[in-house]
């Protein structure tokens, strides 16, 4: 487990480092993943600013001057399950979690918001960026 708490400043700094040094992001992004997205953990929102497949900055509580294409919302419980090394069924990946929310109408699963077109245009890189939250959370949190 990480020494930093999920979503605190040190955690996001480590996340940025993990994403920007990830070989698969390098391959799948092809420097073309340029869509900002937000992550909402309970009532806290964080904007992940993405430029050429790299996380340029993480901005807490983005406002009117910021822009994003899509986001992921969920309770802190859902996110805590998502970032476990072996997550429980149905909170183990974003499309899985969204399906259980949107189609099965179950609670405490992550849910996608925003432009579906942009999500599907960037799916693999975006999905990898979310999966790397799990890696961030489980490798000791050393910054």
């Amino acid at each position: 487990m990480t020494n930093a708490d999920l979503g605190d400043h040190d955690w996001w700094e480590h996340y940025q480092e993990v994403v920007n040094n990830d070989d698969e992001m390098e391959v799948r992004g092809h420097d073309k993943f340029n869509e900002n997205f937000y992550v909402e953990i309970g009532d806290e929102r964080f904007l992940i600013q993405v430029e050429h497949g790299k996380v340029d900055d993480v901005i807490p509580e983005p406002g009117m001057n910021n822009q994003w294409s899509f986001g992921v919302e969920g309770s802190r419980k859902a996110w805590k399950e998502f970032v476990q090394e072996v997550p429980p069924a149905f909170n183990h990946e974003i499309i899985a979690s969204h399906y259980r929310s949107a189609v099965k109408e179950e609670e405490d699963h992550l849910q996608l918001t925003g432009s579906n077109k942009k999500i599907f245009q960037n799916l693999r890189a975006f999905q990898r960026a979310l999966d790397l939250m799990r890696k961030t959370h489980n490798n000791g949190g050393e910054l």
Binding site: A89, H92, I95, Y99, V103, N116, K117, F120, Q121, R124
Partner: protein
């Protein structure tokens, strides 16, 4: 499992069979392994994919000693080309229940199989309900992996859209259907198979899977007393979870059995072949009558001696 020694030639063979389906000739590719007089085990791939998903089962000596394992590519999938007599490029590919069930029965007939066991996953699992309802006399048993009476919500336009990289999206929209416990190498290989599908075919298959297939009010039409039906669903399958399998078995009644597979997902045969083949042996032993105890409600890894 296959060895990887240099020069090893696997026992699996691939051939083509010509099949007439609804009056149209099709050239269908299939691979097989096992004794000619073994019990035929006919394997159907998932939506938008091909028979490579079954390569580890085709290569499992414990199973191919007794069973003649046959895995085919549906028309439009893998090496089974679209029908040469049709102008198929002038319309969207779209699979419906009647066409799907008839195709399976026609392939079995063309191969002259004697009372085969049918097994399929996902859309191949769902079709066991139509096969049980319409063609029960054709099969010794039906194994529906990831089987549900209804599986809505996956007939998605983005899976065939000119402004989306459908090759990648078709694969990675399925990434979360697998359990994190499954080996990364085989999960990645499963997605690699998915990336080989023709444009529009995955979405067209999902018309059957998420729209046309709906047995919620028809399960009692199925009589599984002559042809046993097994609904075998993975714990991590978010589309058709083990409760969906139990609902099928309860709705069908006598002759139907639901089994949950722990720690595995929607592509069991390819995402974790070692674990799946071990689970499958338990089901096959129930079909052949060599198993003394009834199958448990949940098959766990320790039940079959597999360590994750």
């Amino acid at each position: 499992m296959s060895t990887t020694d240099h020069g090893t030639i696997e026992e699996i063979t691939g051939k083509y069979v010509n099949v007439e389906i609804d009056g149209v000739d099709h050239r269908v590719y299939f691979e097989e392994n096992g004794p000619k007089d073994g019990i035929p085990l006919l394997c159907q791939h998932t939506a938008g994919c091909n028979n490579q998903e079954w390569r580890h089962l085709l290569d499992d000596e414990d199973i191919t000693d007794q069973f003649r394992v046959i895995a085919y590519d549906l028309p439009f999938h893998g090496k089974s080309i679209p029908p040469e007599s049709e102008e198929w490029w002038e319309e969207d590919y779209e699979l419906n229940a009647e066409q799907f069930a008839e195709t399976i029965v026609s392939i079995s007939d063309a191969l002259d199989l004697d009372n085969p066991i049918y097994m399929g996953s996902s859309m191949g699992g769902n079709i066991t309900l139509e096969l049980a309802d319409w063609y029960p006399e054709e099969f010794r048993a039906l194994i529906g992996l990831e089987c549900g009476a209804h599986s809505p919500g996956f007939h998605i336009d983005w899976l065939d859209h000119p402004q989306v990289n459908t090759t990648e999206v078709n694969a990675y929209s399925c990434w979360g259907l697998m359990a994190k416990q499954s080996p990364e190498q085989t999960r990645r290989e499963t997605m690699y198979h998915y990336e080989q599908g023709a444009t529009g075919v995955f979405k067209g298959d999902l018309y059957y899977y998420s729209v046309d297939h709906d047995y919620r009010d028809k399960l009692d039409q199925i009589d599984a007393t002559e042809c046993p039906l097994y609904a075998v669903n993975g714990e991590y399958d978010y589309l058709t979870d083990p409760d969906d399998g139990r609902e099928v078995a309860e709705g069908v009644g006598e002759g139907a059995t639901a089994v949950e597979m722990a720690d595995i997902g929607h592509f069991p045969m390819s995402e974790n072949p070692e674990l799946f083949n071990a689970y499958l042996k338990e089901v096959l032993s129930d079909i052949t009558g060599t198993r003394e105890e009834p199958l448990p409600d949940v098959l766990e890894t320790e039940d079959v001696g597999v360590k994750l």
